[in-house]
Symmetry: D3
Subunit: 323 residues, 6 copies
């Protein structure tokens, strides 16, 4: 259950209207790396972990709710960036009246020019934020990554926070308004904080690589195919030891020959690793049993109930902390 | 700023898993008339009314926040509808293991068949809700209508609540689970309640028709063009007095002739109304001034701040009511 | 069956080219509240009412066909706004030739600048309208609301007309061309007319609230949850009597406490209404029977035919009216 | 300006309800190759040719209007395919009542199973067509190809008709209903007819290749790059004379070597053609002048008017033919 | 299997940065008629013809691979058009620093203005290409037409090449950079070449009209319905002999009367053709058998394998040609 | 420049047709985590690093090209899964003929049932893969994350590989075909390998946290807001030291009070860190200069050329390795 208090989480202010920056800032309101994406991603992920992993649920809902609060900050800032301009003329009936009010043709021309920055501020939303990116493309549910496996979802979140962070960094180049910069700095910094929260949660799950249960076929897990010829480079990604499995990279300089010689790789031999087909299977079964048990034990077969209330509630005192 | 408490607003329960109904229920999670649409629509509309119309802002945020809480109820129900089925097998490594666990080929075949109901429960979300409609089409920001004018937005909301209501009504035909039906009844009834809230708010704004400021050209406001020939019908929509302006409907039985004779309607005469071009202009100016004043007076030209806090805050005691 | 006559329904003219306004006007060609949306919405809704409610069918098809005719007016206006600019250069082979023709580098630069207003006028459509909104986002079938229940669909239409009206009102601020303004005024006024037609049709259906058949649970139909704390407001939406059911609003100042105390609202008592669970059920059954009968009686079980022709036709004379 | 008459262009009938086929048939209602796409494509293309090429305008509007009429036939057929099933239960309040009406649990289960065929028939549209393809993906404006050049647009139309034709052919495999098959055969055949109309119109424009004005660089217009190695094939597409320009195909067996040797093709020599850089330029200029003249002569610089009416109208008698 | 070599197929160069043209050029990177569309269309079509028609497969993969290589050229050009501008400032931390580096407020203002040309170059992609059209609309899989029938797919390709060609032609008007023009000329010319390849392949298939197997009902294949009244035109599309079937066009001047008189066209008589219902059926069966045989003979019932390798491979020497 | 060889990178085979699994497998062909997404993501990212970071460019193009080769494997597998079913009937003209061929009504019914699994295999693609996810939603360019900063892009890639891996893991539960499982295992394992390559590349960049240049405000970088009350959990994400910056988490149990007391967080004090506003600024400047220099030095101001060829080419011998 959500509540709302009318104060913003951060004291967002705007020195003067700036419709151009309002357009740019839409990127974080309804864009693919914006606050709604973040909020919805963590919110949707939370459903599947609530019972088996209540601590992850708590973290996801804490951050999701903060992101909703950030969405509100971004929307409020866009509204303030537009208000001065649109408010004045919002309910003027006509272009003639506009000219009178603005004191002449050229002022009106300027107003129209500003409007062209994002036509839909002028002719669709009447000067408020819209759920689109900075080009007017509507927000889409497909921005949200939620795959029902914490070792995957947390990595999606780490990447999402990285992208949100860089977009705020880019945005900071396009405004001189000290109030707006302060708000952007706050929001950008929170992405840095959230990144580290998700990383800590991922680290706590062991093992967490490979994501999921299946371990990967040792014949293919350490091969590097040199598919782009010319100016070939070597580095830790194709030379030495792999980061997680600690296998030795096998560099295939001529992939076509390799494919021809191995009947389409089917006849490849295991190399560069101590893992075998058998050890792979074993690891999968052990891990599968462990995870299945965690999940099964937390979910009743029938008569499932999401919340308990009042007298029935186990951790009754908890909400006291918050309120 | 949003908060979250872990209890759902309504005590959602599920008697037994039902992946088919989970698929149908997606319509209210990520569909065009679902809870996210409602929540985001009122949330986005609220930005532009906060200063000029704080009571509308309060109502919009109250209802938006309730809709977010309903979104959570719907998501939780989908999760519970899927849990029993997917939970058990969630972390089984392989189709062989599945067969063993489920006790035979046909049980496994049944499981796969269920999965086909919505493939993405099986192969993408790992058994959780997704932000799509019941066919898998991602939620889109364009579902949200927010046009910056309360007389328009409130009508959009009345229609949105009507659609949400009928979708719950349709859904109620497709489940026998008494717990799920109870939840659906609660959610459906809330749409009925919200409908009446928006209607009351619209009624309070006077005048509220036509929406916006412009009054409409009296030459065209009461004409009915009979564009579809055969089995023509007459009724209060083309016969008698119009609902809001109280003008007399002018029925054009042969639109083509009319268009030819009036130089493409440009030479139409005013009929069936006391309104004139002059009275129209006057009404527009009066109303425009009134609304512009309301808005301008509430928005500072510069150094705009969204919230006040602590000592500075005017209505300090208010939050006490809520907490 | 549709026909077309080459004259526009309204005598649309353009004083001089204006590619910027052409871009804005796209909002009503391929935008979410534009003419195609209106036309398709009423056209799609009409299928389900043709047999049970032929008078509604007639009205929907009359208005749908008028909206198609408006779509044509908007497209023609966009074409005329672009023609002077693009026509001249449409088939110039090259930027060098352009410079020659336009008389110098700066004229050419101006031309390119105009083109940037909407790049796709320049590089995709060759100077004609496209089925997008003013930002270039393609029109989508999801703009169309058609839910198979007249009490819902007519409300969707009232809201759609309200939005279309305000967009024309906004557009009127961005052009000084008296010819274009005349066309916009005609189109805007028609939305006002259509609004009242749909309202009249809705009023004729009794009962029409709640939309659909289900009546709503009396425990939840008049509760107002104060979900947004701070600066709480009271008004006819949470105080006094509800607009349609005439119930007394029950204001829940502290929703969390209420939820906790009522086992997630499940133990709520009926208050503020004379409706009971029994009266609700009865009303649903009566209404359900009435509506089912209307629909069943109009649809044969097999060998269904949409139209009759020639000798067989019942209302033979009717088309004469139109032609 | 459009009209509508209530009779369908083709006497569409349905022997018995079939929700599965209704789902498939959506492909031609709101799918990428369906009737709305065709109608809108020709309608949108028509705007730019109205003045310079009135005969093409007439043809495009004739066919566009017929496609709208086909859209109506497809929608009516979907409605009839669903009616028998949904009509009966449309306004039943509840799943209990459904069971009673249908005579038992298994009949109800069957009904729900059918509904799952396309959930949105059941829970969104209330048993009517939706503007989506057969998977529920909404129709999109980007399906429409209109590029402002008749030699391009007519080719887009030829391809569009080919695709529409094959989809009807595929659909014919999935129904046994003789009435539905008759309707599909009519619609499929019309695509064959339209194909030939567009081809005839294209042939009339001379020259029509290459599409547009620019003639193509003779160094690159007849080269065939063998980019996919293994099982290389030769045929009239890379051996002999090219279809339109009559140039001799230059087969590049080893594109990488060629690219290396020619400084990234920049140093390629003209071969296999009599065309030269000069003849190319000349052809472009001649053609450019011709087409520019056609267009410029038809478009006034200002005070543009789309239609003439009544007394003013030049070809007054014409509409008589139609009516 | 794909390879990559780091040299571009064409030696793309840029004289100086031009973010505006970079925006326009996106149309051919991620737009509906761009290089990705072409590449993916031919690639996807190729799967279904690989076994039955290996020569078509070879052609489709040759051209698909070339289009991928063109996508790379377009992307590289966009990057070069942006590099000079963005590179300099890419990793500047702040708007203050920017001002210092750029030498003053007005230079910075100019930079921001450029950025507004496409905001996402500035705030999302960090100055690289994005998979969108020139308005920022993401590329969509629905751009790809692949219908599993070569007589349809090749026509789709001919149309696609026509559109791609005209877009390059339009783009050439918006740049003066001789290097960029050279690249555009190369790319445009290749569309002309590909067009002729597809046409040659289509001509080789006999019969190829109508596309598919079904021949079309002789009652409807040569009728022209005059659906748009006023200024009616006659031409080879409704007068004389049809292009492919050689039937005589039957012009229906008054479609409504015709529909009424023929019971919705059902009672139409065959006219203007020697084809009969019987000859149609026969032609369909003969052609159906021929095509079915071609396809069936090439596809094993089980144990299907896509490629052979090494010793097993039949056409071993072939790849030698390429390498 | 891309090449293609007709052998697949992996010897994909199919034991017997399975249209249901073909539908599921679409998820990796045209779905949000599928092979096209991966290929395009790395391909698009590569443009911006080519000059400043040629080793990253090489790695990105190696992996992008491998992913294109995987896309081909997935498409080939889908084609083989469908071939047996569709091939046989592909060019049957009619449902009657189908019945004959299939030997009776029930066999035909079974065929139609299979087709319903994904209608578009039957009525749109003619039995080949489509660029959609498993629900038929078209692939979208917005799936691709490319933000022009390697420390962001590599994290996006790590997450993308994690998601692709889990989708293959889920898919493995839904097929028993040993050949298909072998292919899926290969593809899944390659995601594990790529994950580690991207991780190694990220580790090589130092510093790589926070992503980008800006360092984050020390007042907000280590605060944890407890926004979801009830069942609060503590863990390494809100207790102890943060993973990257090594700061001490500051747990805010009551965020509302905190916000009120700190004037909307603006008056927050630095805590739990040695970082200061000054040290933050310094770090940003140092890093900004370093990165700017790397980029600037690699990009000429004008006359930019992407590739060198032949004699000019510096690393001429390189391509020899590959070929």
């Amino acid at each position: 259950m959500f509540y709302h208090v009318k104060e913003l989480q951060f004291n967002a202010r705007v020195s003067k209207p700036d419709p151009r920056f309002a357009r740019l800032l839409l990127e974080q309101f309804g864009g693919p790396n914006g606050e709604l994406k973040a909020a919805m991603q963590y919110f949707v992920q939370a459903f599947s972990v609530k019972n088996p992993y209540p601590d992850q649920y708590d973290m996801l809902m804490d951050i999701a709710t903060e992101e909703f609060s950030h969405l509100e900050i971004v929307g409020a800032t866009i509204q303030m960036l537009l208000d001065g301009v649109n408010g004045e003329l919002k309910d003027v009936a006509d272009s003639d009246e506009m000219m009178a009010l603005l004191g002449g043709k050229s002022a009106k021309e300027g107003y129209i020019h500003e409007a062209m920055v994002n036509p839909q501020f002028g002719v669709l939303s009447g000067g408020g934020p819209r759920l689109t990116d900075s080009n007017g493309v509507p927000w889409m549910g497909s921005y949200v990554n939620a795959n029902g496996d914490p070792t995957v979802d947390l990595r999606s979140n780490i990447a999402a926070e990285s992208r949100a962070k860089i977009v705020y960094e880019y945005l900071l180049k396009f405004t001189d308004d000290p109030s707006v910069k302060e708000t952007l700095m706050f929001l950008m910094t929170r992405e840095i904080a959230h990144y580290q929260m998700f990383e800590a949660a991922l680290n706590k799950i062991q093992p967490n690589f490979p994501p999921g249960i299946r371990q990967g076929d040792p014949r293919y897990s350490n091969t590097y195919f040199n598919m782009s010829s010319g100016a070939d480079a070597r580095g830790p990604w194709n030379d030495g030891t792999s980061t997680q499995l600690g296998e030795t990279w096998q560099y295939v300089a001529d992939p076509l020959a390799k494919v021809e010689q191995t009947n389409g790789l089917v006849d490849s031999e295991i190399a560069g690793t101590h893992r075998t087909m058998e050890s792979m299977k074993e690891a999968e079964e052990t891990l599968g049993k462990m995870r299945s048990k965690e999940i099964k034990s937390s979910i009743p077969d029938k008569d499932i109930q999401w919340s308990t209330y009042g007298a029935e509630k186990k951790n009754d005192g908890d909400t006291g902390t918050f309120l």
